[in-house]
């Protein structure tokens, strides 16, 4: 079985490539982005000669209004975004150096976020992505490279976590693969919607849409999970299958599927929308797990333990598929991915073994806490986007800076508090386990 699982997982990487060509649209970078090296800068004419990385052809680009000739770094790989709305063709909107210089503080920062993200991921099935991408960007990594490198670190982490939790008998491989295959299609739909909004309402409209979706999903789903966890904690932690899931399991619409580990028999027509929504959300807010795990718990009827473990399988498939996409465009900074992996592979296994010591509802508590605090971080950004769209009168720069600060620190708080709950619950569980083992050993020896 171990071998079978390995073969299955290895086979999924090339398979994801097929899925990509079949669907003919990916979540890769935008077409207006150029990757290459500046070979000449003409300060007087405000132009540069740029060699494109893929075709090796030389093109002349015009600097945007606010750009300075000093910013045009030569002989280094750079990413250039073109301004589609500029009067002259080939005008640059912004330029960023592709590979940041790795200082000790940046290295340590990556190791720390890797460890916490890994711990969360191993425990609740997802997590980390919502903070890793912004964190990398604040270290100076261009957005596209941050997304790509995060993706490339996510799938090996999810693979190791999924393997561990499968060994503990928690991951349902069949449910994971069924969900993942529909989620891949969901991603495509999500991207289509995103592109439509971007074309209709521009960048600020798109940002507002993402934040609004983020808020609504996180507050409603997170709030419900929290309420459920609170009820369970009061009632002694005995988990019951939700009424909705029981009703769904009664629908006898072929093909019916049986999921052994999840102990569920349900129509494929119920799992499809859950998978699609997971994918759509992953394409919109980059954390599909926030709807995938609650979906598997409350709609399909799996336990929180099985749902969070199964989410790791979905994350692996989607991460591997996404990494191939970003790898095709050559945007993965492998150094960032591997530094995150250095600690997250330890974190994810610690989180996974932690689940064996805690009651099922603790997973819900951690998940809900994270979701609700992350909702705050996105919510405070909404006024800024509303101002950009002229839907709200401008507020002072100080207030905006304060909101930015709240947004960043609430992300840190979300990760920190989740890690704290996990560690406390794990230590408590381990101590209780040790006590009972010691008592048992005392009896058999005495």
């Amino acid at each position: 079985m171990k071998k079978l699982l390995l073969i299955l997982m290895l086979a999924l990487a090339p398979l994801s490539l097929l899925a990509q060509s079949a669907l003919a649209a990916g979540d890769g970078p935008s077409k207006d982005m150029l990757k290459g090296v500046i070979t000449q800068v003409n300060a007087a004419e405000r132009t540069i000669v740029f060699q494109k990385d893929d075709t090796k052809e030389f093109i002349t680009l015009v600097m945007g209004e606010k750009m300075l000739p000093e910013d045009m770094k030569m002989n280094q790989k750079v990413l250039i975004n073109l301004d589609k709305h500029a009067a002259t063709a080939n005008t640059m909107k912004d330029i960023s150096i592709m590979f940041i210089d790795m200082s000790v503080s940046k290295l340590l920062a990556l190791l720390v976020i890797g460890a916490v993200g890994g711990l969360l991921s191993g425990f609740i099935g997802s997590g980390g992505a919502f903070v890793m991408t912004p964190a990398m960007m604040s270290l100076g990594v261009p957005g596209a490279v941050a997304v790509a490198s995060n993706m490339c670190h996510k799938f090996p982490k999810a693979m190791v976590g999924a393997y561990k939790r499968w060994k503990y008998g928690q991951a349902d491989i069949k449910l994971g693969l069924v969900m993942a295959s529909t989620a891949v299609i969901g991603v495509q739909i999500g991207i289509k919607i995103q592109k439509y909004i971007l074309n209709q309402f521009g960048g600020a409209g798109s940002n507002l849409y993402i934040s609004a979706v983020f808020m609504v999903v996180l507050v409603f789903v997170g709030g419900y999970v929290f309420y459920d966890a609170w009820k369970l904690a009061k009632g002694g932690g005995k988990e019951t299958v939700s009424k909705l899931a029981i009703a769904m399991q009664k629908i006898n619409l072929p093909p019916m599927m049986h999921f052994k580990t999840a102990k569920v028999t349900i129509s494929a027509w119920i799992t499809i929308p859950v998978g699609l929504l997971t994918g759509m959300l992953a394409a919109t807010i980059a954390v599909g797990g926030f709807v995938g795990v609650p979906g598997m718990i409350y709609v399909i009827g799996a336990s929180a333990m099985v749902a969070s473990a199964t989410e790791l399988i979905i994350a692996f498939v989607m991460g591997a598929w996404g990494s191939v996409q970003w790898g095709l465009s050559g945007l993965i900074d492998i150094r960032l991915a591997l530094l995150l992996l250095a600690t997250s592979l330890i974190g994810v296994q610690l989180g996974a073994l932690g689940t064996t010591y805690v009651k099922d509802y603790i997973i819900k508590v951690v998940m809900a806490t994270t979701m609700l605090i992350v909702a705050v971080s996105r919510g405070v950004k909404i006024p800024g986007y509303l101002i950009d769209l002229d839907l709200m009168s401008p507020i002072s720069a100080n207030t905006l800076a304060l909101l930015e600060g709240i947004s960043f620190w609430s992300l840190v708080l979300a990760l920190g508090s989740a890690a704290l709950i996990i560690i406390v619950a794990m230590v408590k569980g381990m101590t209780a386990d040790r006590h009972s083992k010691r008592a048992l050993a005392g009896v058999s020896n005495g």
């Binding site: 290895l10 990487a13 990757k35 990385d53 893929d54 790989k77 592709m98 590979f99 790795m102 490339c152 670190h153 799938f155 090996p156 982490k157 693979m159 190791v160 561990k164 503990y168 591997a320 990494s323 191939v324 970003w326 790898g327 095709l328 465009s329 050559g330 945007l331 993965i332 900074d333 492998i334 150094r335 991915a337 591997l338 992996l341 250095a342 592979l345 330890i346 296994q349 610690l350 996974a352 073994l353 064996t356 010591y357 569980g429 209780a432 386990d433 006590h435 009972s436 008592a439 048992l440 050993a441 005392g442 009896v443 058999s444 020896n445 005495g446």
Partner: protein, 115 residues
């Protein structure tokens, strides 16, 4: 009042200390007899120190090799097209050796999943 496993174990200990071994076993029920029949004393599992060191050394050398050739690696890995196999392959490779190191490290420091 419900009796927890812990309470049960503690009362078994009390009987065992008083020399009432049979009563103690009875309180613990099937668990104790099962363990008894297997082996009189639970075998101490050896910790995987050697494996941790071997995988750790492999992982560190791979990291050092990659970071000392930083410029070359980032250049080749970001060429795009079929070269996607480099970053994805490297991520797989590191997840196997570094993942094995991490797994053995956790066992070596005594962090194991509940049986």
């Amino acid at each position: 009042m419900t009796i927890t496993t812990f309470d049960k174990n503690m009362s078994a200990v009390a009987f065992a200390e008083a020399g009432e071994h049979d009563t103690a076993r009875q309180i613990l029920g099937a668990n104790a007899t099962k363990q008894h029949s297997k082996s009189p004393a639970p075998a101490v599992k050896r910790k995987p120190y050697l494996k941790t060191i071997i995988f750790g050394a492999m992982s560190i050398s791979a990291y050092v090799l990659l970071f000392t050739n930083e410029k070359l690696v980032t250049e080749i890995f970001t060429m795009g097209g079929w070269r996607w196999v480099y970053p994805v392959g490297a991520a797989f490779f590191f997840s196997f050796i570094h993942g094995a190191f991490a797994s053995n490290l956790l066992s070596a420091i005594g962090l194991e999943a509940k049986k």
